[in-house]
Amino acid sequence: MALQTSIARCNARVGRAPAARVAVKPQYVRGAAQVVAAKKKEIMMWEALREATDEEMERDPTVCVMGEDVGHYGGSYKVTYDLYKKYGDMRVLDTPICENGFMGMGIGAAMTGLRPIVEGMNMGFLLLAFNQISNNCGMLHYTSGGQFKVPVVIRGPGGVGRQLGAEHSQRLESYFQSIPGVQLVAVSTVANAKALLKSAIRSDNPIIFFEHVLLYNIKGETHDGDYCQSLERAEMVREGTDVSIFTYSRMRYVVMQAVAELEKKGYNPEVIDLISLKPFDMETISKSIKKTRKALIVEECMKTGGIGASLSAVINESLFDELDHQVMRLSSQDVPTAYAYELEAATIVQPNQVVEAVEKMCSKVAAAV
């Protein structure tokens, strides 16, 4: 039970409530029946990420991890827990607190052929490393005329947690989305976390890999064996007909909570987890919109210039004739995340707002018919 106490300690340190506030709904997989639990073990997301890291480090000696407290401390979210004991200090490197410095170092190492996983203790801290990520990571393959690959995975938790204050509650996926040459991935379930991290590590492109502070302790099953999930494909969470709801990361659970409510009211929404924030999986997205003719984006990113803003523009431009209603976009407010619980809750999207948005869209369209 040492694990339980250490998790509790971890929670206490970051001021987290022991359980995630939003109930986790079973995952719906496109076309398949719900997986019947044979003797499959449920693990937490941090364990799934740890398994992925461990498996890839074992498989490929050029894979290494670097970041603050990833080694002896065990990782601030336990993703690299005890891996240094197995792989040594060089492969699980405790860096000093110098994001610009160690991001550059990781990228330099990647240029020679290593495959570093650089952890930002919080994705917000990576703003200090933005120059390295933008110029030396994203652009290098192009400007070197294809000579140097930068196979790094830049991973860490982002998003709004539990009263962590403004500077530790940033949702800044969109700050990175314009960087040419990088891919952005956001994980949301235990299964896709492990499968996507494996793919990201194996990818030769630089991947910015967004986890969420509040999802590390959610439980679920991983895929069997060496399963790697495509980094560019969205996930069908729930097939439907009334409206296409596009979401990612923790907002997936907010949406599914709203869906429970909507089902009772007789709606049949389709829910798609974007997974790939750059590039968008336009095949899945357009197929869904052509079917439902209504698009709702639910994200934790900022309203101004968020991932949803980009997606909304793309949908309007390329799927205008397929829409019966303008694209609706629920994003977090353009304010720093306040400390007070109620204000923090008011900053991000809540399930009731999703329900209202769907009702509004569907009734307006129905009235127009």
Binding site: C64, M90, R91, L93, T95, P96, C98, N100, G101, F102, M103, G104, M105, G106, I107, G108, A109, A110, M111, T112, G113, L114, N131, Q132, N135, N136, H141, Y142, T143, S144, G145, G146, Q147, F148, K149, P151, P180, G181, Q183, D204, N205, S230, E232, R233, P279, D281, M282, E283, V314, E317, S318
Partner: protein
Amino acid sequence: MALRSASTQLLGRAGLLPAAVCNAFHRCMSTSDKFSVEVLPFKAHRIEPPNNVVETSIDELVGMYELMYKMRRMEIAADMMYKAKLIRGFCHLYDGQEAVMTGIEAALTKEDAVITSYRDHCQHLSRGGTVKEVMAELMGKRDGASKGLGGSMHMYNRQANFYGGNGIVGAQIPLGAGLAFALKYQKKPNVAIAMYGDGAANQGQKYEALNMAGLWNLPVIFVCENNHYGMGTAEWRAAKSSTFYTRGDYIPGLKVDGMDVLAVKKSMEFAKAYALEHGPIIMEMDTYRYHGHSMSDPGSTYRTRDEISTMRQERDPVERVRKLLLAKGYDAAAIKAMEKSVKKEVDTAVEEGKAAATPPNEWLWRNVYVAPANMDMRTVEGTYVQPTYDPTYSS
């Protein structure tokens, strides 16, 4: 011997000595024989400096001279091409600093890694690139070092472990630490050279890299090319302490006469041995650039023309080697012939660069990613394009 060689030189230079006598003289002294040259003593910080006697040979000096002369002619040609508007944007020239890179190469192999800033044309050359590649790249042509996509500040050579070519001041320093980290990780007996200027020496990320390098004993040699001006700001106006070789605190440093290629070579041999065994070391190269910071900078508003011309007369690195070669009895005619051949190479490279084709539009979306799968990126009009991957740019 000295008297004879002096008269031989004089007569030889005047063309009055028949070739046979010249050759006879050379048979007495082999060009691969080693001899010693004294250089300016090194200043040291937290380390015992090497002595200031350098062993070299005519062969080595000839090789160095050729490289330095080529660098010089290439940069002058770039200046002319820039003024002719065939090179656009930023163009940072290295003339005056040739001894630094040439001396570094003399101490290294191509298995050692080099990374530098935007003043990288001559590094590309010394790492095995050609004048043609540099010229074509500066003119934005598809035959260029980076296929015309990088420009002046982004030249690379993977095979020769040359990691560019970096536009942002100081950002290459942590990358250099990363190169050394990878070398240590892969247990290779090689070093990484992270080059930067006196301006970049005030960047925070330099100290982050120094700390990490010192912490893990990474085999990295930090080379500060101190040309005394960070663009228009003199070193004493930008740095509280301009003894850059001491600013690594616990990391040892050497200050070297960067206008003397032999001093640079000796110090770098010392540094490589040190770095492989102990870890990082800082080398401050006291050097000078004749041009301004870049072609947009006349280079004379913040320093006097006297200063520039005095440097040229008294400390020019290329001239120094030439004088040394002649003093050692090397045939002036051979030097002239080599210079002529270098000039021809540079002129040809310029002409070839002018005539070369520009990169085709298809290359706009080439190699943004490595082997992209299911990637649809959007064009200006909003249509979709699939990025392509082809490291050879064969089509």
